[in-house]
């Protein structure tokens, strides 16, 4: 065989291989999420477009779980809700046919949290992407009704009739659910005009949205002498999850953890000192003595210091 022939065969082989790769690429396309996305919720939806009869199994690997999905031959779209952890998440989505992997996609997702110093400032490559815009919705509209269908001021008798429910049902799965979220009155907070990039953004800071209903709190706090920083900066959602939470009052973590997350110095003091009135180590809560929002007493004490310590 002449060297030129050999060269040609190699070229042809490589070309053929690349063709094969091209073909494999069309077997599965991940529509959502985009790579290097930034978010604050601990769950998200993976949306995958599949070539008909292209694959029979799909796996999604997340740091928390491994999901295996057996697909019908006729399915061309697959939506799956996955759980995430704080910080960086690497998600691998693999497509199989007859136990042969045809394609692999990797997505890097960052879940930030204002309550932890280490997750407060995500690396710059991560950007917040809004899903609900016209071009994205056009891809889903074949199967899903993408319009918010709530009647203003009237909750759904059957929550499953909400168009939002199907994709977002995980946000209210925790024990304590905020009434507007649990009743799928999404538009009452996710205003249609708040954010340019998305149809269902929220105002930032969020407090004006909260005070629409919790107006008596606003009056009470405004009249108080001392204000806690998150209250003044208007970020109620820093400590509270507006959808649902395993903890009472929809706080994102157990009360003491939230407080001591920022007030680090108090952490060691409260835990170690046996004579500390706070006695965080004896199963007491910070909010037994302190009010977390606003107070007329110094140190956000509920009553005047002497009474509070007794």
């Amino acid at each position: 065989m002449k060297p030129t022939h050999f060269f040609l065969t190699v070229v042809i082989f490589l070309w053929g291989g690349s063709f094969h790769m091209l073909q494999a690429d069309t077997v599965m396309t991940v529509l959502s999420p985009l790579d290097n996305s930034l978010q604050t919720e601990l769950s998200m939806n993976v949306v995958v477009k599949i070539k008909e009869n292209g694959i029979d199994t799909m796996t999604i690997d997340t740091p928390l779980e491994q999901i295996t999905l057996d697909l019908n031959s006729s399915e061309t779209m697959k939506c799956q809700n996955i759980l995430l952890r704080l910080g960086e998440n690497t998600i691998s989505i693999r497509a199989y046919k007859n136990q042969v992997m045809l394609n692999e996609n990797t997505r890097h997702i960052y879940v930030s949290s204002q309550l932890y110093h280490e997750y407060k400032f995500p690396p710059e490559i991560y950007k917040q992407n809004f899903f609900h815009n016209d071009s994205n919705e056009a891809k889903c509209v074949k199967c899903h009704n993408m319009k918010a269908n709530e009647t203003k001021g009237v909750a759904f008798m059957d929550v499953k009739k909400s168009n939002c429910y199907l994709c977002h049902k995980n946000i209210v799965k925790e024990k304590y659910a905020h009434a507007p979220a649990a009743n799928w009155l999404c538009i009452s907070c996710h205003d249609l005009k708040s954010v340019k990039e998305s149809k269902y953004g929220t105002l930032s800071p969020v407090n004006q949205t909260c005070f629409k209903c919790h107006e008596e709190n606003q009056e009470l706090w405004n009249s108080s002498k001392y204000h806690h920083e998150p209250l003044d900066s208007g970020r109620c959602n820093k400590c509270h999850n507006p959808h649902s939470s395993p903890y009472s009052m929809f706080v994102r973590k157990p009360v003491n953890e939230i407080c001591l997350g920022c007030h680090k110095g108090q952490n060691t003091r409260a835990m170690q000192s046996k004579i500390s009135a706070c006695g965080a180590s004896y199963g007491r809560l910070c909010i037994d003595c302190h009010t977390p929002h606003a107070s007329n007493q110094p140190f956000f004490l509920k009553k005047t210091p002497n009474k509070a310590i007794k």
Partner: protein, 506 residues
């Protein structure tokens, strides 16, 4: 010197005459006044502050042209005309005559001396048709003075002295009827339609046995009378009648001849006339904190709901006790209390088949007015007793309306242990009284949070939606044989069972 003396005398005389004239005409006084006035004017011109200083008061010719003289003149004229009219009206308006004064004047007394000219006919000589004599006799007839009205001179009087009977009547009964509204027969001079000129068994020489019977001759629904009166009929055969008509007569409210108000009434029929007797209603309609628009601001006032004569329904209501209310509340109505909209109650009752007992057994329980006072109340929604508007209410120390009929034990008993107590409430999980759990908590809820006080699709009057902060949240109540479940906005779906407790509240 002589010449000088003459001159001096003349001057003295002139002086004397001058002073005399001065004294007679008070010239000095007038001059003093003149000087004072002129002094004032000069002082004011120099020192007083004028609204229009000369330099400010300058009108250009264009501005002068802009002033519409003709329009000003017209306005001036109309204002004068109006004043003139008022003067004329004041002159024309009749002096106020009280009804009782007229009635006193109605029966003139005849002196025998006045009737001297008339030929006296003895009672025995009267024609046979007047016998036997009745209880009340017209005085000229009693005296036998037939010639006061009749022309003929013998015992059989024939023609009347005047063609128009009314003119004869008014000759003695001098009070002409001058008020705004007249009874049509009185206006037309048909005195004989009601009165007998000779004698009658009824006071007032009426043609019928009683006042009411006389009125009903024309104003009965079944009357054969074909005049205008037929339109203003009254059906007095209905079972519930207005007491004054039965016990006294129509004249308790109406005047037979003339009156200041429509329908021959002495006061405004819509309300004032009624409140003249009904003191307790007057108190409510005028002094209560919350007033019913149906009485206080409606077109017909009292007559919006009540019939003043007779009806089939209790309290002289025009319709059935619930239907009366629904005749207005068949649409959304703006509330006088807070400007909010009151629901379309008719539609609400039609859509929701389970009604609150007072509405369901309206006849026995009193319908809407069992809870609401239609004339006004000091409690919101014109409730007869206090209740709360709030979602959260501390029910412990308050005496709420619901407990007038429903036992308070429903919310005060924490555990229902014996089967004897089972009738207190069916809303329990095993022994745990779930009413207690909902109501006696730190944030006790009002009864209306879960129950609709009027009607509901669900049993126990459970609401379909509860209003919280302006948002309607469904309760999603499902009833089972021994319990049920709710999934409101307040909590996730909780099930309860009276027989096999699900462990709520533990």
């Amino acid at each position: 010197m002589k010449q000088h003396i003459k001159k001096i005398v003349a001057m003295v005389l002139l002086l004397l005459i001058g002073t005399l004239l001065f004294q007679v005409y008070g010239v000095s006084e007038k001059f003093g006044r003149f000087v004072a006035i002129m002094g004032n004017i000069t002082y004011n011109l120099q020192n007083a502050k004028h609204a229009y200083e000369e330099e400010n008061f300058s009108i250009t010719e264009d501005e002068l042209n802009d002033i519409n003289i003709t329009k000003l003149a017209q306005e001036f004229k109309t204002s004068i005309d109006r004043k003139k009219e008022a003067l004329v009206l004041a002159a024309v308006a009749p002096p106020e005559i009280r009804i009782d004064e007229i009635r006193e004047e109605e029966t003139p007394t005849h002196m025998k001396t006045q009737a001297v000219k008339a030929k006296i006919v003895k009672l025995e000589d009267l024609p046979a048709k007047f016998k036997p004599l009745k209880q009340y006799l017209h005085e000229p007839f009693k005296m036998g003075a037939c010639q006061i009205c009749h022309t003929s001179k013998n015992n059989n009087p024939g023609e009347l002295i005047k063609k128009n009977i009314a003119d004869i009547c008014y000759e003695c009964h001098k009070t002409r009827y001058t008020k705004k509204f007249d009874h049509t027969p009185a206006k037309d001079g048909k005195c004989m339609d009601c009165h007998d000129p000779h004698q009658s068994n009824t006071k007032g020489l009426l043609k019928e046995n009683s006042i009411n019977a006389l009125c009903m001759k024309c104003h009965d629904r079944k009357s054969t009378f074909s005049g205008k009166a037929k339109k203003q009929f009254v059906d007095m055969n209905l079972e519930v009648k207005h007491k004054p008509i039965v016990e006294k007569s129509c004249l308790e409210c109406h005047d037979a001849h003339t009156a200041e108000y429509k329908s021959l009434l002495s006061l405004d029929a819509k309300m004032d006339l009624c409140l003249d007797c009904h003191d307790e209603v007057k108190e409510k309609t005028t002094h209560s904190k919350f007033k019913h628009g149906g009485v206080n601001t409606s077109e017909k006032r009292c007559l919006e709901c009540h019939d003043p004569h007779a009806t089939k329904h209790k309290n002289l209501l025009k319709k059935d006790i619930v239907a009366t209310c629904l005749s207005c509340h068949d649409k959304e109505i703006k509330s006088d209390e807070d400007g909010g909209m009151l629901i379309n109650m008719k539609k609400h009752l039609e859509e929701n088949p389970n009604w609150h007992k007072p509405i369901k057994d309206a006849k026995k329980e009193g319908g809407c007015s069992a809870c609401h006072d239609p004339h006004g109340s000091d409690n919101f929604s014109i409730l007869r007793k206090s209740f709360t508007k709030n979602f959260y209410a501390d029910l412990e120390n308050k005496d709420f309306f619901c407990f007038k009929c429903h036992t308070e034990k429903k919310i005060t008993t924490q555990f229902i242990t014996t089967s004897k107590e089972h009738n207190i409430t069916a809303f329990r999980d095993g022994e745990v009284n779930l009413h207690y759990l909902h109501v006696n908590d730190r944030k006790g809820r009002s009864c209306r949070a879960c129950h609709d006080e009027h009607a509901s699709k669900y049993t126990h009057l459970i609401r379909d939606y509860t209003d919280f902060n302006g948002i309607k949240f469904p309760l999603r109540y499902i009833e089972t044989a021994d319990g049920g479940s709710c999934a409101p906005a307040c909590h996730k779906k909780f099930e309860y069972d009276r027989v096999n407790p699900k462990g709520i509240g533990k």
